[in-house]
């Protein structure tokens, strides 16, 4: 069989052709401002940050090149960094486990057939999305207040006074208190993504499963969950990235305390850079976080196969 291969067009060929040349120039001109600002505000700081990880810099004196010393210091001498990595691991694992209530809730809601009920739950799920994240955190801070907070007051009211705790002030409780936040851990954005995924599945699959008499549990494991693996992967990568690099929750709620029990590398990086003016060490942490996040995301992409893969 004779096959013909379309010859590759060189960039210079475009400029040889009058109309194409103008169109290309137009295209480049439109892209230019975005590309310029992208390079200036995204790429330059990123590369500068990578470079800074190999320097000792306090923010104003001349940076001193120290090679990989910042990384050696972090892993060999920095007690707080190692502690923060341990805390990060708990947050990442906790975050992954707490993805499942959302999946289960999505499947249960997908099974609701009543259109009015569907409308109601969609509205109910969308309302929390308009409440700023910070407001939610401050509400939880109030809930956990040991003297005035709802949680301790409620426990006292129902006669469980002995269970009252210093939720955010006890080094042994604080990290679990932060993980408990958001109970019952149904994330509205993720629910909408999962339901969207389930609705995209051909309805004949559900009809066949009903004809075959597949039970609700088997239906979840054999059909529903496998069919939304693509969406799960998307949310999984988001959860991993948030768990590894995020620190808003810890900064607002506990500032990494008490006794560093909720300190995570992202927050430590922020504190080193903006409180202690140790920009080189902070940049080194950012590189470590990037590497960890990349590795975990790659593993999840590699080993979780969705129907699209």
């Amino acid at each position: 069989m004779i096959t013909t291969r379309k010859p590759k067009m060189k960039l210079s060929d475009y400029f040889q052709r009058g109309k194409n040349r103008t169109e290309t120039a137009m295209g480049l001109l439109f892209v230019l401002p975005a590309a310029f600002f992208c390079i200036l505000f995204d790429w330059y700081p990123t590369f500068d940050g990578v470079l800074m990880a190999f320097y000792d810099w306090n923010g104003y004196d001349t940076p001193i090149f120290v090679g990989i010393q910042n990384f050696i210091d972090l892993f060999a001498h920095d007690e707080l960094f190692l502690k923060s990595m341990k805390n990060m691991t708990i947050f990442v694992i906790g975050g992954l486990v707490l993805m499942f209530p959302t999946i289960i809730a999505s499947v249960v809601l997908f099974r609701v057939r009543n259109s009015k009920a569907k409308y109601v739950y969609r509205v109910l799920f969308c309302i929390p999305m308009v409440i700023p994240f910070i407001v939610g955190l401050l509400m939880w801070q109030y809930i956990y207040n040991p003297q005035f907070g709802f949680l301790n007051q409620f426990l006292k009211l129902i006669g469980l006074e002995s269970l009252r705790g210093v939720w955010l002030g006890d080094a042994d409780l604080a990290i679990w208190s932060l993980l408990f936040m958001g109970f019952p851990w149904v994330t509205t954005g993720a629910v909408l993504i999962y339901i969207g995924g389930l609705q995209a599945v051909d309805s004949s699959i559900w009809e066949v499963s009903e004809l075959d008499g597949v039970g609700p549990v088997k239906k979840f494991f054999a059909l529903e969950f496998p069919l939304i693996l693509g969406q799960f992967k998307l949310n999984l990568i988001g959860a991993i990235t948030a768990g590894v690099t995020g620190y808003t929750l810890q900064m607002i709620m506990t500032n990494g305390g008490p006794a560093f029990s909720t300190l995570v590398p992202g927050l430590y990086m922020y504190q080193l850079a903006f409180k202690s003016q140790r920009y080189g060490d902070a940049a080194a942490i950012s590189i470590v976080l990037f590497a960890v996040s990349l590795l975990l995301s790659w593993v999840s992409i590699k080993f979780i196969k969705s129907k699209e893969d």
Binding site: M26, G169, F260
Partner: protein, 583 residues
């Protein structure tokens, strides 16, 4: 639309965007269109005393300034604080004297203040601030960045509102009260005009207490006479009473994350420094010291206090070993006694949350500071009576290291209002107006009014401080105060990590030894980082002062300069040694 037209339109839009962005980056009234070269020249000239000397001409010679707005950043306007009212009153008076100048205050809460400050100090636009209120730690962060105007040359000149006196002379302690401020930065510059302070008063963080609760708990003695042991015993008494009669969660005191170091300061501030001084006297200053006597007054005096501490930290004198073990064991034992009086979870609570506990009667005492007096009065009005007492005195009964004295003020200014070099420092007209405003601000007449409105202290000479505030400062009697090195120095010098280490100790996750080792390690790193660039800067200061000494005519000035040079030489040796030991 043809392609050609589209390209032309896009080019016009791009040019417009570029023009707008350029204007935003330097919108100095649009009329002051300086070239880069001019700006560079002005930057250079702002670094020299000559520039600021021009601006210091008294108001009689320059009665009018150009029309302009002076913008002042402060954190003192939250809920119209008494300080804010005082500042506004001075500004209103100034605008009557100088109607061509508008004074605007830019309110910025302390949370995030340093970030906004740093951003503003990079700008010279109309919206950038001219003056910023600064706390000591803020000055510490930016002192060597060349972002603030050196006000020293202006201070040497006559104040426009003090007759023939120089601006320096209008302040309590005069020029000598700025020695530490000048020595602390590598330019030898005065980076702020003091405000709301008296350098001779050691302002305490006293304890405010609910008089009704004390009475009901059967406490009859006057807390103002209490020793440490009395304080702990009575605090336990009122705590027990409160648990039975008020609430099972009742505690003696309220504290919070912002005042975490208060108790450590209170304890450490009363610890003697004998162990430290004995070792310091043995330091060999070698050739660099050029024959300076380590026992001379300028070495033993206060001006090298922080240099001595940094030297001690880097040389391991203050590690947990030898005699220091008992020192730190006692300190943390005493700290634990106070800690047992606080509400549960105080480490993670804000100042506002802990104050609520006091106002709502869930605690009998709380730590306070001088700025909170008005708030306490407002929030307890009609509910209960309160009074205040100074932190109690440690005695030998509590620890062998107790001096039996309160901390003594060091007579030095540490904070106040700084001037944005990029904006005011580069514009002689603006700098003149800003300096004039600050001279007006610190004038005797205005400060007399200010202390009444703000209920604050004044750095200006002959201003009568409010009587009611005297209970909030340590007494001045020489036999009751001492200027000892703080015992908690390593812990505090660990920078931002020390509260966490102390929390670990308090929650049983670190021993005293582990606490001291962790903080000493961080403190050493900080000291080396801070001072690694200092020796060259100090050498430059020594050279400048030696030049001044050659030209000096006045004997007193010669003496002062000679003393400064000796102090700087010692500091140079200490910094270099500290860096060497740190590495």
């Amino acid at each position: 639309m043809t392609t050609k037209k589209a390209v032309s339109l896009l080019a016009v839009v791009m040019m417009f965007i570029v023009a707008v962005l350029s204007a935003c980056s330097n919108n100095e009234s649009g009329s002051n269109n300086k070239t880069d070269q001019t700006a560079a020249n002005q930057q250079e000239s702002a670094n020299t005393p000559a520039n600021t000397e021009d601006a210091a001409a008294p108001a009689e010679e320059q009665p009018k300034f150009k029309d302009m707005t002076i913008r002042i950043m402060t954190w003192q306007f939250g809920e119209e604080s008494s300080f804010g009212k005082g500042y506004r009153a001075i500004a209103d008076d100034y605008m009557k004297v100088h109607p061509e100048i508008k004074v605007e205050f830019v309110e910025q809460p302390l949370d995030g203040y340093i970030d906004k400050l740093n951003a503003n100090l990079e700008l010279d636009s109309d919206t950038a601030i001219d003056i910023a209120q600064l706390q000591p730690w803020m000055i510490d962060q930016i002192k060597n960045m060349d972002k603030l105007v050196d006000l020293g040359p202006l201070m040497e000149k006559k104040s426009a509102y003090a007759g023939e006196a120089t601006w320096y002379d209008t302040f309590i302690g005069e020029k000598n009260a700025f020695t530490s401020a000048k020595a602390s930065n590598k330019f030898g510059a005065v980076l702020f005009v003091p405000s709301d302070t008296n350098p001779n008063y050691y302002v305490a963080q006293p304890i405010v207490y609910n008089k009704d609760y004390f009475q009901q708990a059967g406490i009859t003695s006057d807390p103002k006479t209490w020793t440490w042991s009395d304080f702990i015993a009575n605090a336990k008494l009122v705590q027990e009473w409160g648990k039975k009669n008020v609430d099972s969660d009742f505690t003696a005191m309220a504290s919070d994350s912002e005042h975490y170091g208060w108790a450590l300061s209170m304890i450490g501030g009363q610890f003697g420094a004998d162990l430290f001084d004995d070792q310091f006297a043995k330091v060999d200053f070698g050739a660099e010291g050029q024959g300076l006597d380590p026992n001379a007054a300028y070495v033993q005096g206060d001006s090298l206090l922080w240099s001595k501490i940094s030297y001690a930290i880097t040389h391991g004198w203050l590690d947990y070993k030898g005699d220091m073990q008992k020192y730190y064991d006692d300190m943390m034992r005493l700290y634990s006694e106070v800690h047992g009086l606080y509400q549960a979870g105080f480490e993670q609570q804000s100042s506002a949350e802990s104050s609520q506990l006091f106002y709502t009667g869930r605690v009998a005492m709380m730590q306070a500071h001088i700025g909170s007096k008005k708030d306490i009065e407002t929030n307890t009005e009609g509910m209960f009576e309160f009074d205040v007492f100074l932190p109690p005195l440690l005695t030998k009964e509590n620890t062998q290291f107790a001096t039996g004295k309160f901390p003594k003020a060091d007579g030095q200014y540490k904070d106040g209002f700084g001037v944005n070099k990029k904006k005011a420092g580069n514009d002689p007209d603006r700098l003149a107006a800003v300096a004039d405003f600050l001279q007006f601000f610190t004038s005797k007449d205005e400060q007399n009014k200010y202390v009444e409105i703000a209920n604050s202290f004044s750095p200006t000479k002959d201003v009568k401080n409010p009587e009611e505030l005297m209970g909030w400062v340590f007494p001045l009697e020489a036999d009751k105060t001492s200027n000892e090195i703080y015992g908690h120095m390593i812990i505090e010098w660990a920078g931002g990590t020390w509260p966490g280490y102390v929390q670990e100790y308090v929650q049983g996750k670190k021993t005293v030894q582990q606490l001291i080792e962790a903080t000493a390690k961080d403190a050493k790193k900080n000291v080396v980082d801070w001072y690694s660039a200092e020796p060259d800067a100090i050498q430059a200061q020594i050279a400048a002062k030696e030049e001044s000494l050659k030209a000096a005519q006045d004997d007193a000035l010669k003496q002062a300069l000679d003393n400064d040079i000796k102090t700087l030489k010692i500091a140079k040796v200490l910094y270099a040694e500290a860096v060497k030991a740190g590495k």
